[in-house]
Symmetry: C2
Subunit: 154 residues, 2 copies
């Protein structure tokens, strides 16, 4: 897949991802390492919680969404380097058996004032489940390289 | 450790965490699952990247910080349920051998208008490394339960 530079991108461009299958083991493994709370770890305890069943940690949903972003349609030259996140919400829980998918839109772009080889783009990533329900909304500023001058003149 | 209710908390309260040791294996394992980019996966490729060495995915830093939060001093009754994040930055990379620590401050509090059994608190979580350098800044609204009336009257 072609690597994209700032010059290749436009506000309003949209990109699709593949899919990520959520498993009970994946939810529990992530929680053991990073978010050891009963509603992420144990089916019985989770059924008695406010979630009424096992749910993924929000940070697990964010991590799975990052996988979909990195392997999706917006392949930035030099890699996807997030600078800051200014919105991250989990409107619905993610559960075992869910199949996640990510939709990315470029909502803002700025060339760097100080560094002529780069710019920043603001993206909005929306993660949905197999029923089209939104499980995560995420906006962030990401680094985008400018195409090197040598390549630009070809 | 005592579980804390909205009534126990005050703007300005601060909480310390334990420590989280960052390993090369931890960085690579997380990246393979969630952020498969060369500067998170491979020492040689990472040394040629903008980071000049292997660095943790920002989402791995967020996940390790969640571990420190959940196991730290602010033990919320009913668990730590994040509602929305409005700031997440990674001012410095996290590298193998780093020892992370989290400092939490309550910066805002609101009782729920519609649900008398709960409120929300806004927390600012700052993750530092062994040299006291900030590696992540994170602000979020988190659910806080009100103490049940039966317990309140005791």
């Amino acid at each position: 897949m072609t690597e994209l530079y700032l010059e290749d991108l436009h506000v309003g461009d949209r990109f699709e991802s593949g899919t990520f299958a959520v498993t009970e083991k994946g939810i529990v493994d992530f929680a053991q390492d990073f978010d050891p709370q009963p509603f992420h770890l144990d089916l019985d305890a989770a059924s008695r919680s406010v979630f009424e069943g096992l749910v993924a940690s929000g940070w697990h949903t964010a991590a799975m969404s990052m996988n979909l972003f990195v392997t999706g349609g917006l392949r930035l030259a030099g890699g996807s380097i997030g600078l800051s996140v200014d919105e991250l919400q989990w409107p619905r829980p993610v559960r075992p058996g869910d199949m996640l998918r990510l939709n990315t839109e470029i909502i803002e772009m700025r060339p760097s004032q100080s560094k002529p080889d780069r710019g920043i783009i603001r993206i909005r990533n929306v993660t949905t489940n197999q029923n089209g329900q939104v499980v995560q909304i995420f906006s962030a500023w990401v680094l985008a390289r400018r195409r090197p001058a040598a390549e630009r003149s070809i």
